[in-house]
């Protein structure tokens, strides 16, 4: 068992490195390995970059890194929520986080033009982040009881709030002018075109902190598969674990969603694919789930960029188009379907 799980870890590390290189090569302009190396060394030693090298350093590399981290975050969040709710069809946006973010973004897109200039660079992410936090806090406050959190209450509140925010977004695009409505749609389907070094640094910091926070929870979350009662009998402080896991999830997902928009399906499907590959009790599960999500989103973003280049497809469309067939094939192979 130990050799097997180390082997899978190694496979995923190699796969991640390969994916990062591979998706950095292709795009509207191809970049070969030597210009990548040159660009990096020139940046470190303050050299002059040519056009191709600048594309790599300023556009391609942050975008690939942002894609990887976003995929990691979404699949980690999904994996955690599925364990926590003991429900395989849960995704990280379930508790209102991503629809809240989308609503916040839509508010900015429609009304934001009347705001001052100073707000510009981080304005959209800020609005989205506030929307995500607002939605999550609302869900928690309604389902918090003296005895602890009411799980069914959270699920139902999440469903209700998701519906509310979606209709809010619908209303905003209805009253907005055409270009604004298009931005709302584009954002609700997710896009990595806003990638820059600032948001790449922020998201990687959040990702690493979240992983560090999740590692000690891994074993306890696995025990949830036996049911809450049995987890408690095995020494898990159930209500504390719930709060810890949800805080991490809300933080990760709201940051990711505020930068890249709503990317559906990754958080639902990647934890399943990982479970089909490695089972539910793998000890490198946190790392592996993160890497698998990163690999998946890098590739889907590559497809979104390249397929109709120079035009870009909305990422959310591609994740479903690529993810669903893979998912069905795996389910068939393992005789679940």
């Amino acid at each position: 068992m130990a050799i097997n799980s180390r082997f899978i870890l190694l496979l995923f590390v190699l796969g991640s490195i390969f994916t990062l290189f591979f998706s950095a090569i292709f795009g509207s302009v191809s970049i070969d390995f030597s210009s990548m190396a040159q660009a990096i060394s020139k940046t470190i030693f303050h050299g002059e970059l040519n056009l191709q090298e600048r594309i790599f350093m300023e556009l391609r590399l942050p975008r690939v890194l942002l894609a990887f981290a976003t995929g990691s975050i979404l699949s980690l969040g999904g994996s955690m929520m599925q364990s926590l709710f003991r429900n395989p069809i849960v995704e990280p946006g379930l508790i209102g986080t991503s629809s809240g973010a989308a609503f916040g973004a839509a508010v900015f897109i429609v009304f934001g033009s009347s705001l001052n200039e100073w707000f510009s660079a981080f304005a959209l992410p800020t609005f989205a982040f506030l929307g995500a936090l607002f939605a999550s806090v609302l869900v928690f406050s309604f389902s918090y009881q003296k005895t602890g959190m009411n799980v069914l209450g959270i699920l139902l509140m999440g469903v209700a709030l998701n519906a509310l925010f979606l209709s809010g977004i619908g209303f905003l695009s209805y009253i907005s002018r055409d270009p604004q409505a298009r931005s709302i749609t584009f954002w609700s389907l997710g896009s990595l075109s806003g990638a820059n070094w600032q948001n790449t640094w922020v998201i990687w910091t959040v990702l690493i902190l979240s992983i560090l926070g999740m590692i000690p929870l891994n074993k306890q979350l696995q025990l949830f598969a036996l049911g809450e009662e049995n987890a408690r009998y095995l020494g898990v402080n159930v209500s504390r674990l719930r709060i810890q896991a949800m805080l991490i999830n809300v933080l990760m997902v709201s940051v990711a969603t505020s930068f890249v928009g709503v990317i559906s399906f990754v958080g639902l499907i990647i934890p399943h694919i990982y479970r089909l590959i490695a089972g539910s009790t793998d000890r490198f599960r946190t790392f592996n789930t993160a890497m698998l999500g990163g690999i998946f989103l890098c590739f889907t973003d590559l497809i979104a960029r390249v397929l109709f280049a120079p035009a870009e497809l909305p990422l959310g469309v591609v994740t479903s188009l690529v993810g669903v067939p893979i998912f069905i094939i795996l389910l068939k192979r393992t005789n679940v379907l």
Binding site: K219, A225, G227, N230, L234, G235
Partner: protein, 258 residues
């Protein structure tokens, strides 16, 4: 280390309703204590109070003279295990991995060699060797319960002797043959490991066949408790279950007929 348990005037209220009233009794190592009573008499609450999953309204439970409320849950999980009626898993898992979960309270990230040794031992003991890589969902109800019993076993089997085992109607979904073989194995382990065992059971005859000590609950109160010779009487059963029974003697064993 073997464990003694003392209940002293234990009361439990849930939603302002009194579920357990002033329950006092002792449990000794190597003794199988059977809890009998009608539905809603407080049997499961009694077990949960010792499992540390419901809070006491008043009274105390002592585990080796230490007040249970002062023992941290994570420490308690190292020598107290609980087996419930039936366990459904959220995700597909291998038998071996589920059994290993019983060791989770004992290691941090990576299992120690003792953990893996105990899992192997349990797979042999519970006749699960051929199932070790099978998916839990593909097993029958009896086999699934054996897997869970093995998980509970490894949780407290690391000590030479001692441990507290709580069984909440574990026979419910087993057929007669599996019920008997379950109790047989339990009997053997209780003596060997000197566990203090509390078991909630519905079948009166099985209870008297395998138990050492008996608790009779009615409406949350402990009606009577004692050894087999003291409590195996038809009047007792009549009183506890509000039902007429006869006692039949067969080859020095007594059975209730109803």
């Amino acid at each position: 280390m073997s464990f003694e348990v003392q209940f002293r005037n234990v009361c439990v209220d849930i939603d302002k309703k009194c579920i357990l009233k002033k329950v006092s009794f002792d449990m000794k190592p190597g003794q199988l204590t059977m809890v009998l009573g009608a539905n809603g008499s407080g049997k499961s609450t009694l077990l949960k109070s010792l499992a540390k999953s419901v809070a006491l309204s008043s009274g105390e439970i002592f585990v080796n003279q230490t007040d249970l409320s002062s023992i941290p849950l994570a420490d308690y999980a190292k020598y107290r295990a609980v087996l419930t009626q039936q366990t459904n898993m959220t995700f597909q898992m291998n038998v071996e991995d589920i059994v290993l979960m019983g060791r989770y309270p004992h290691f941090n990230q990576v299992p120690h060699s003792i953990d893996l040794i105990l899992v192997e031992e349990a797979l042999v003991l519970f006749e699960l060797i051929d199932f070790r890589n099978r998916k839990y969902d593909s097993l029958s109800g009896g086999e699934q319960q054996r897997v869970q019993f093995a998980r509970v076993y490894v949780q407290i089997a690391h000590m030479e002797v001692g441990g507290i085992l709580l069984l909440d109607e574990p026979l419910t979904f087993l057929d007669v043959k599996h019920q008997v073989s379950f109790l047989h194995l339990l009997r053997k382990l209780v003596l060997e490991k000197q566990w203090a065992v509390l078991m909630v059971i519905h079948d009166i005859n099985l209870a008297f066949n395998y138990g050492d000590y008996f608790l009779f609950l009615k409406n949350g109160s402990l009606l009577a408790h004692g050894l087999k010779s003291e409590v195996q009487k038809p009047e007792m059963i009549n009183e506890v279950f509000d039902m007429k029974v006869r006692m039949i003697q067969h080859e020095e064993q007594s059975f209730f007929s109803y």
